[in-house]
Amino acid sequence: MSHAIRAEGLEKRFGETHALRGVSLTADAGTVLGVLGPNGAGKTTMTRILATLSQATAGHAEVGGFDVRTEAHRVRQLIGLTGQYAGVDEMLTGTENLVLIARLLGLSRNESKARAAELLQRFALTDAAERAAKTYSGGMRRRLDLAASLVGRPQILFLDEPTTGLDPRSRGDLWEIVRGLTADGVTVLLTTQYLEEADQLADDIVVIDRGEIIAHGTSDMLKAQVGGQTLEVRPIQAGDGEAVAAIVGDLADAPPEVREGLVSVPIADPAMMPAVVRRLDDAGIAVGELALRKSSLDEVFFALTGHHSDDIDAEANELAAGATKETSA
């Protein structure tokens, strides 16, 4: 099967700024490709190039088998785009926003109204259909924006930080919608600053930082690649923490961490688990909790970029609260 999205060596310069430094990626038809990265990593720039809004300084990209530069009009017939900032006309009602897109795409007046009603219902906006979009809440506006990008039944959907600034419930709603779309065979490229979001939705993840792809794989592969696994032991007697740490530290490659009675250590070889249990038993330490878990994407991100995703999330929320808009990119 051919790739729905394929980019090779995309570069973008804005004057002195190097927004993209040779980004290559592919997304198979019907999958979700998560593009994970902090603010300013180049996610939006890349999405805009793939969605034909912007041209790369160098490199090549195909969407649906068409060149985004030379066959932009064909690409536009296949894609839908939902940007970080909702692209809805605030003066128009929900219905009018969708009818506008449908009419532009060549549907008749009646078809357009039917399509608008259908999508408004799908996105739980029927009650607000005749209200101006400026009266909508953030979540409603985002849903309307997504509905607008689906009017043309796109095969490939670009979602640029679709949940930034949304409350957890709206975020969950949006995830459900994305899952429904992929079930219908839509290819989704989703950029996000939220590790959980990529973990939840994406079949494949690329991690982008400062205009470069620094890691690529499934969520599991990324976790395995960087963090491996983490062994956690919690003795019943909190006083046994030191003794547990000594035993675990003896077997693992890295020094263990003791926090609130929980001893944790990254390990490369899961086969050491029985040895840990034996040694603990020999020492007569009663264990309340013993677990081997995969490293979280947060740990992955920290290992790859040198900063925690928490910092980024805080930053993102600040940005969303300030609602500052960068028109430059």
């Binding site: 805009r48 969605a51 034909t52 809004l53 912007s54 041209q55 068409f66 066959e71 009009h73 064909r74 536009r76 017939q77 296949l78 894609i79 839908g80 785009l81 940007g83 900032y85 909702a86 692209g87 809805v88 006309d89 605030e90 003066m91 128009l92 009602t93 009018e96 506008l100 897109i101 009419r103 532009l104 795409l105 060549g106 259908e118 999508l119 799908r122 101006a132 924006d145 607008a148 990008s149 689906l150 043309g152 039944r153 796109p154 095969q155 429904g180 779309l181 079930a183 219908d184 065979g185 839509v186 808009k325 028109t327």
Partner: protein
């Protein structure tokens, strides 16, 4: 439920937009810009209150001093205010464009398989409707307080089209400003800063006379606002506003006004296009 989202598209993938499609898309965009008025009638009131206020204040405060009476001032003022008003109205193009760009609506349009020109053309056509409205308002108020069309009512047609042609050319200034500044309020401020001096340094409100210093007089006479106001006076009033015995030519000032408009367009169309490209 899933059928609503099924990725099937009627028809085949087309290589480019056909001219009939482009025209239809432009009209859809026009509808979009006009239907906004329905939800925001304030905009129309905005376009009406300012002209009404200007006409009344100028007529009753300056009229008697300037022309001896309110009605004697009408042939000078009404065509002049119509022109000034058209310049202000042309700023709505830039304000709307700026709003679209900053709200992300423009990106949505650009991601659609539609003619690249449709969003802008649709806006310009819709704004032409607003121009017609604001001209209508000034005329009605003028007629109520003593302005008379001394030629023929049919002269309103060429007058309207001349005004429109100039406004279309001039609106490229507003397009450029709209694409250059950060928020819509700035377009408004910029508009006031440009349009007040341009419209006052003209014969829109007063006849140009020897009393003015040479350089100001030169500016006033060369000003496209003066040419356009004169052309409108020629069409609607039919005689010189100072000396009613002398006729007021139409063609020469009309051509001057359009030539100026063409100069504005020649400068600001390429600048605007460069801005457009920069946004991508």
């Amino acid at each position: 439920m899933t059928t609503a989202l099924a990725p099937e598209r009627a028809g085949t993938i087309e290589k480019s937009v056909s001219p009939p499609q482009a025209i239809r898309q432009t009209f859809t965009m026009t509808w979009r810009n006009l239907v906004q008025i329905k939800h925001n009638p304030m905009e129309l009131i905005d376009l009406s209150i300012t002209p009404i206020m200007f006409v009344l204040l100028f007529s009753y405060v300056f009229g008697p001093a300037m022309a001896g009476s309110v009605s004697a001032y009408m042939p000078i003022l009404i065509p002049g205010i119509i022109v000034q008003n058209a310049l202000f109205a042309s700023m709505t193009t830039g304000i709307g464009l700026n709003t679209d760009v900053s709200k992300g609506v423009f990106d949505r349009f650009r991601s659609l398989p539609i003619a690249r020109s449709a969003p802008l053309m649709g806006r310009i056509i819709a704004d032409t409707g607003k121009q017609a409205w604001s001209m209508f308002i000034v005329l009605v108020i003028g007629l109520l307080i003593g302005f008379r069309i001394e030629t023929t009512w049919l002269a309103l047609i060429p007058a309207f089209f001349l005004l429109l042609a100039f406004a279309l050319l001039f609106s490229w200034v507003s397009v450029f400003v709209g694409l250059s500044v950060r928020d819509p309020e700035k377009v408004q401020i910029f508009g006031f800063v440009i349009i007040f001096p341009i419209s006052f340094l003209s014969n829109a409100f007063i006849p140009v006379s020897d009393a003015y210093p040479g350089w100001i007089r030169t500016v006033m006479e060369a000003n496209p606002v003066s040419h356009l106001a004169d052309a409108l006076r020629g069409l609607l009033v039919g005689h010189d506003v100072v000396n009613p015995a002398v006729g007021q030519p139409v063609l020469v000032p009309a051509l001057w006004a359009l030539a100026w408009g063409a100069v504005f367009a020649a400068i600001f169309v390429p600048l605007s296009m460069a801005r457009f490209r920069k946004h991508s």
